[in-house]
Amino acid sequence: MDTIRNAMPYLMEGLQVTLYIFIIAIILGFIIGLIVALLRLAPFKILNWIAKFFVDAIRGTPFIVQLFFIYFGLNSLGFFSMDNTTAGIVTVAINAGAYFSEIIRAGIQSIDRGQTEAARSLGLNATQNMRYIILPQAFRRMLPTITNQAIISLKDTSLLSVIGIADLTQEGRIQASQTFEAFTIYLTLGVIYFIVIYLLSMLASFVERKFVLR
């Protein structure tokens, strides 16, 4: 018990870092996902290809390789220097963005074509149709899958410890090596992740109920 009590302040600091990175990255990731999905569905072949290439590249490579590429690879070019937190946020955002884009694309395509026809026949243009008719319906359908990806991304942030970001996992590693109580510390670490993710999915199901499908 003392081990946990002594380690807790450090773990909480790490949790703050984890949540900070997660929240910024997931919002950015969602914006990336939306843009990529719209490019993928745009009536221009070249934009479709760019979007597809992006998604394939991200899906076809491990997260940790993406992280090393962005942090070590891009920094080594010498055009700019990115600190590890920024690199971490960027990697999680881009990674989540690729997966989100596929979720959003599928969600948009799942809406009946008659909806678009009705909207367009009233005189709404393609953008208004997307904004007022298609996306609001699509988002409701996507919510469970989006939650799923958000949870995966939250867990992916634990990999950021390898580039020295003092996130929850990194703080746990430090505590484990300092106290020699690896069993207790890592069990605690797991419980903290579990609680955070549990709260996240509770929030998601609350939102789902609020925007119930009619």
Partner: protein, 242 residues
């Protein structure tokens, strides 16, 4: 005044030519009922009139504007051409009132209050004022279709297109929808109606157009087309449906 002029309209889906060469003129306040066997191209013909289908060849003029011209602002033209679909296509995430007010709110200059008042008037017209705050999922098919008509009317269209508006309805719902359409016809709306309701076409139509095989085979006043069809294909079709 000519509302719709169709000149040598052609439409292909890939290699399949659905509309082969159609020409007709529809005048203001005219009610034209389009009949024909399934797969004859009558829905496609209707959908070309507001360019929901890209037109392959020929010209379609709406109030003098050639909508096959890619430079034409089709969204502007569509505001004058209301459309009612077989499957209603109401917006399920919006209330009945919002379904009706959404497009005018985004596209018309008039203020919100006037638009809402107008929406209630239209709901009165289709007999559904008490459903203003209901959602489409809570309505019967006939009610949905009447809301869809009100939604189209909210843009103050000059032309209304109906694509088999009663085909997806239970028989006891059909009458209510047809009554609303009759009322519109009486009020002088220019209407093009693809329908299987021969009784309705005969009673309300100023003209009946028989389409088969991608051509307008025959068009005439209802009494003549139903009573004295000229073309063999028209006779064959009518003998099956009447």
């Amino acid at each position: 005044m000519t509302m719709i002029r169709v000149e040598n309209l052609k439409k292909s889906f890939g290699k399949i030519e659905v509309l082969k060469d159609m020409s007709t003129v529809i005048e203001e306040k005219e009610v034209v009922c389009v009949i024909g066997p399934s797969g004859s191209g009558k829905s496609t013909f209707l959908r070309c009139l507001n360019r929901l289908e890209e037109i392959t060849g020929g010209h379609v003029y709406i109030e003098g504007t050639d909508i096959t011209n890619p430079k034409v602002d089709i969204n502007k033209v569509r505001q004058d051409v209301g459309m009612v679909f077989q499957q209603f296509n109401l917006f399920p995430h919006k209330s009945v009132l919002e379904n009706i007010t959404l497009a005018p709110m985004k596209l018309k200059k008039s203020d919100k209050k006037a638009i809402t008042e107008k929406a209630y008037e239209l709901l009165d017209k289709v007999g559904l004022r008490e459903k203003a705050n209901a959602y489409p999922g809570e309505l019967s098919g006939g009610q949905k279709q009447r809301v869809a008509i009100a939604r189209a009317l909210a843009m103050d269209p000059k032309i209304m297109l109906f694509d088999e508006p009663t085909s997806a309805l239970d028989p006891e719902m059909v009458g209510d929808v047809l009554d609303v359409m009759k009322q519109l016809a009486v009020e002088g709306m220019t209407m093009v109606i693809v329908t299987h309701e021969m009784g309705f076409a005969r009673e309300v139509g100023d003209r009946v157009m028989f389409i088969d095989g991608g051509y307008i085979v025959e068009e005439n006043v209802p009494a003549e087309l139903f009573g004295n069809p000229q073309h063999e294909r028209t006779k064959a079709f009518l003998s099956k449906v009447l």
